[in-house]
Symmetry: C3
Subunit: 158 residues, 3 copies
C-alpha cells in the first residue's frame, strides 16, 4: 500500500493557527504519513530566524522585513491578542500544562522529517531571503504543492 500524505498550506502568520498546523502535521507524521507544510504569505514568518540577518534589500522589502514578526515566538494570536496580553497568557498556560511551544513543535517536525517548504513567489514579493530562514527549509512554488496535494489524503489550508 502506498504511503498516505498530508499536505498543509500555512498561509496564516498567527501563533495559534501555526500551532494547529504543526500539531496536525506532527500527528500525521506519527501516523506514518508523508507530511509537507507549504508556508506561504504570512506563514513564512514562522520559519524566520530570530536573530536579525544582514542581507541587502530594497527600501520597501526592508520595511516589510522590519514590520513582520521574526520567528515563531514573535507571532501574534488570531484572537484575544489584546495588546499582546493574549500570547503571554497562553504561553503561561501552555508552560503550566507542559504543552510544546511553536518553536518546539517546529523542531519536532524537523526531527520527524516533515518537509518544511517556503513559497518562492512570496519570498520574492516580500523580499525575504534564504539566509533569513531556518536551516533545512526547502524552496518551491505552487506547482510543487499541487503535485503533492493531488494525491494527498489530507489537504488543509490554514
Amino acid at each position: 500500500m502506498e504511503q498516505k500524505s498530508t499536505n498543509i498550506i500555512l498561509f496564516s502568520g498567527d501563533y495559534d493557527k501555526a500551532m494547529a498546523a504543526y500539531i496536525i502535521a506532527n500527528g500525521a507524521a506519527a501516523y506514518d504519513h508523508k507530511v509537507t507544510i507549504f508556508h506561504t504569505f504570512w506563514g513564512i514568518n514562522a520559519l524566520r530566524k530570530q536573530e536579525s540577518i544582514e542581507v541587502k534589500k530594497g527600501f520597501l522589502e526592508g520595511m516589510f522585513g522590519k514590520m513582520m514578526p521574526r520567528g515563531a515566538e514573535k507571532l501574534a494570536l488570531s484572537n484575544m491578542n489584546m495588546a499582546g496580553m493574549g500570547p503571554k497568557m497562553i504561553k503561561h498556560v501552555m508552560k503550566k500544562h507542559n504543552a510544546l511551544t511553536l518553536t518546539q513543535l517546529i523542531e519536532m517536525a524537523q526531527e520527524q522529517e516533515i518537509n518544511l517548504v517556503s513559497c518562492t513567489m512570496t519570498m520574492d514579493l516580500l523580499g525575504l531571503q534564504k539566509e533569513e530562514l531556518l536551516d533545512g527549509v526547502q524552496y518551491a512554488g505552487v506547482a510543487a504543492y499541487l503535485a503533492d496535494a493531488e494525491n494527498g489524503a489530507v489537504n488543509l489550508f490554514i
Copy 2:
C-alpha cells in the same frame, strides 16, 4: 460502496465561520456522508452552554473562561464586527430571510447525528470542562481526527 465522509476542523470562534462549517456539515449529512466536526481552539466556544456553569478552575483558566464567548450566539463576526453592530445586523437580516441561526444549525447537526467532537488538548489548555459543553458532545484528540480524515472525501479547516 463505502459511505463517504466529511471531516471539518472548526478552529475559528467567529460566528460566520462557524455558520459556514455547520451549513456544509448539514449539507454533507443530507448527502448521506458520515460527518464529523472537530472543534479545536476557539471553535470550542460554539459548543459552550449559554449559562454559567460552576466548576473549579485555576486563576488563568478562569480568566480565559470569562473572556471567551459562552455559546454559539455570543460569537463575533470575522468581518465588519464594528463594536458588535455587525452580528446584530446580520442576525436581523437572517431573521428576515428565515435563515437558521447558529444555534439552530447545531441542533440540526445533532438531529442528523453529525459527530460533534471537542479537542481534549485544547480543553486542557484553556481549562474548559465537560460540564460546560453541550450534551452529546464527544471528546477526542488529533489522532482520532486523522483516523477519520485520512479516508475522508471532503476535509476542511475552517
Copy 3:
C-alpha cells in the same frame, strides 16, 4: 483516467487570501484539473463589479451593499492593513515584481475556464443581485459544491 478536480471555497473577503485562492486555482487549471471556486460570505465581494449598479434593495441590504468592498481591488489585507497602508505597500511591491493583481488573476481564471460560482444563499442573505457581479459567474448552493468536492483531489476552505 478521470480528470482530477480542485474545489476551493473562498469564504474570506481579504485581498491576500483571495490572491492565494486564485493562484492555487490557476495553478491547478494549468495542471489540467477541473477547477471550481465557490465564493461564499465575504468571498463574493471579489466578484462584485467596481461600478455602482442600480438595483432595488431593502434598507439593511442596501447598507450591507454600501459597507462591503465593491470588487477585487477594494479588498483589504488579512494582516498589516494599518489604515489601508498595507494594501498600498503590497500593490507597490507586486507592481515592482510584475506580480499579477487580483483582478488579473480573476481574468486569467476566466480565460482558463475555471468555474467561478457565487453562493445563492449568501446573495439572498446580504441582498446581492446578479447584476452586481461579474459576467460569466455561475450561481449555486452548497449541494452543488458537495457534488463536486466529494470527488475532488484537492479541496480547500480559504
